[in-house]
């Protein structure tokens, strides 16, 4: 009897949506690789500053400037004699912080606006969604650049600008989710027992409509890291001597003409790998959270 019960329990567990999604994510090789890459950079970003503190202001050794990769400096040194590997590693927390902050801003503001628009409809819906249409009329990178150019360079303005340009994407997805879910029986039931609108919205509708938002946020992390690097490269993001990957490229690319490729190659590879990780994970999540889209081994 007990055996039969545990079998039934096992079956139930296998069929729970979350377990299934995690299993599907793990079964997709590309998503697994994405997860490993992201985990690698996250661990790097958390552990390295704790174990090897780094002060970019005092890091300079002109006698060692522009040395090619060697055993001592595996990624070589830059024009101020700084170890490129050390700076690339210490750039991870900056890029991830910018990405996470920008995505968190966009996700919170966009989801809130989209849900309010979809739930209350009417004039509020029209007003919010027209505003989103107007923001979408701008090319995203241009809008981010213009905002930072006006507000002044720096990491905080970079996060703000990248976050702002991602708001309409989340708002549209959240609104669509609310429109689809608010006719469900459990929402009517919540209303019938007297739940207030905000409770219905955030306790009943939001948890059930969160999957597409999670996917969008993961893919958006990739875009945010790329945009932060672009702003850093244009001198609008992190300011020297901070070891931000885009700013490092901007500092070093002048030295390509004298053959110093290493201070340009490695920060760029770090950006590419991080973005690739988020893209693979985001694609995998999309497939895992949407059972209709199960396509195993999309890229491999």
């Amino acid at each position: 009897m007990e055996e039969a019960l545990s079998e039934i329990k096992g079956t139930e567990a296998r069929y729970s949506f979350f377990r299934q999604a995690v299993q599907r994510l793990w079964d997709t090789r590309s998503a697994r690789i994405g997860l490993f890459i992201v985990a690698f950079f996250v661990i790097l970003a958390i552990v390295v500053p704790l174990v090897f503190p780094y002060d970019p202001k005092v890091d300079s050794n002109l006698s060692m400037k522009l040395k090619p990769p060697s055993w001592e400096h595996p990624f070589g040194t830059d024009h101020l004699g700084r170890d490129v590997l050390v700076r690339v590693v210490h750039g991870a927390p900056i890029s991830l912080r910018v990405g996470l902050a920008a995505v968190a801003f966009g996700l919170l503001v966009g989801t809130f606006l989209g849900m309010i628009a979809g739930f209350f409809r009417g004039a509020l819906d029209s007003l919010i969604m027209r505003l989103m249409d107007i923001m979408l009329a701008f090319p995203a990178t241009l809008l981010a650049i213009a905002i930072v150019a006006m507000r002044g360079p720096g990491l905080n303005n970079t996060m703000f600008a990248i976050g702002i340009v991602s708001v309409p994407g989340y708002a549209r997805i959240a609104r669509a989710a609310v429109l689809a879910l608010q006719e469900r029986e459990y929402v009517s039931a919540a209303r019938a027992i007297g739940a207030k609108p905000m409770r219905v919205l955030f306790r009943h509708i939001l948890p059930n409509g969160i999957s597409p938002l999670v996917v969008q946020a993961t893919l958006n992390l990739a875009t945010a890291v790329l945009e932060a690097a672009a702003l850093g490269f244009l001198g609008l993001g992190a300011q020297p001597p901070q070891p931000e990957w885009g700013a490092m490229l901007s500092d070093s690319y002048k030295f390509l003409t004298i053959g110093a490729w290493w201070p340009v190659l490695f920060p760029g590879l770090a950006i590419m790998l991080t973005v690739l990780g988020f893209n693979l994970l985001g694609d995998g999540l999309r497939d895992a959270l949407d059972p209709r889209m199960i396509v195993k081994s999309r890229y491999f």
Binding site: R130, L131, D133, I134, M135, A137, F138, P139, T141, L142, L143, I145, A146, I147, A149, M150, R151, G152, A222, L226, A229, A230, F233, L234, G235, L236, G246, L249, Y253, L256, T257, G259, W261, V264, L265, P267, G268, I271, M272, V275, L276, N279, L280, R298, Y299, F300
Partner: protein, 334 residues
Amino acid sequence: MLSYIIRRILSLIPVLIGVSIIVFLFIHMIPGDPVLAILGERATVENVERARHELGLDRPLWEQYFLYVNKIFHGDLGRSIRSNTPVSQEMATKFPATVELSLFAMLIALIIGIPAGIISAAKRNSIFDTTVMIGALIGVSMPIFWLGLMLAFLFSIFLKWLPFSGRLDPTIILPVKTNLLLLDSLIAGNWVAFKNSLAHLILPSLALSTIPMAIIARMTRSCLLEELGQDYIRTARAKGLKENKVLLRHALKNAFLPVVTTIGLQAGTLLSGAILTETIFSWPGIGRWIYMAIQSRDYPIVQGAALLITLIYVFVNLLVDISYAFLDPRIRYQ
């Protein structure tokens, strides 16, 4: 069809008004006094007051906005603070360089992206398919300014095959008519200038083409695969059609609609200024112009260029929508 186009254009009016308000507000987003930010802390009181008056910042906000819109309708986007030339005039000299670069980049993206997507779909899960899809994924994950730098290092600095910066060697004299140098050199029958400007065009357009190429390849593949699973394809195969015909005549025709949209949207993005690519390759187009304006805090240029670029972007998107409705009658009756 006409009513669809009219409806679509009318729906743009509130968007355009909103865009003009946001661009207008750009200058008010500058922390502190925008005039001091433009002129620097050492500016004299008279200069500050004069600049404030010239920029119209001494009027109420609503009046400033209506003045701004009025000027836009008269083709006046303000004057550059540094050079004092009209923004619209400077823009007209920069735009052809961006058009030439974008069109060439799009050409490369189409020539490689579409066949790669078709072959990938036809040989699904083959080594070719896997390679193309990994390549496409890396393509969208790469910072294009970094790719541009690496290409420049390899082909210009290390191998010395192609020039690194600019549009034409300064030693070559070419009468400028359209400012599209390939076209100008053809008009003038100057083959040396043609070859030289083509050589200058290759690296920046190759770097710029990466993202559209990757997106077009992925889109072509996925749309084609979707069509290949349809019943009419099975019918076509069952009646004994060769696989090539099934693929190119039947499936591709129907799969092409979303691909056309993607191409249009990517063209809009390219035309709206490749700020990073143009900056790296010192390409004298709109993107580099904006970058220089940001560096020198020439805000009227940033404002004017952002407005015009957004208008181009909106207009290209409109054309894409119209072409979509033209190709698929179901859209226009919705």
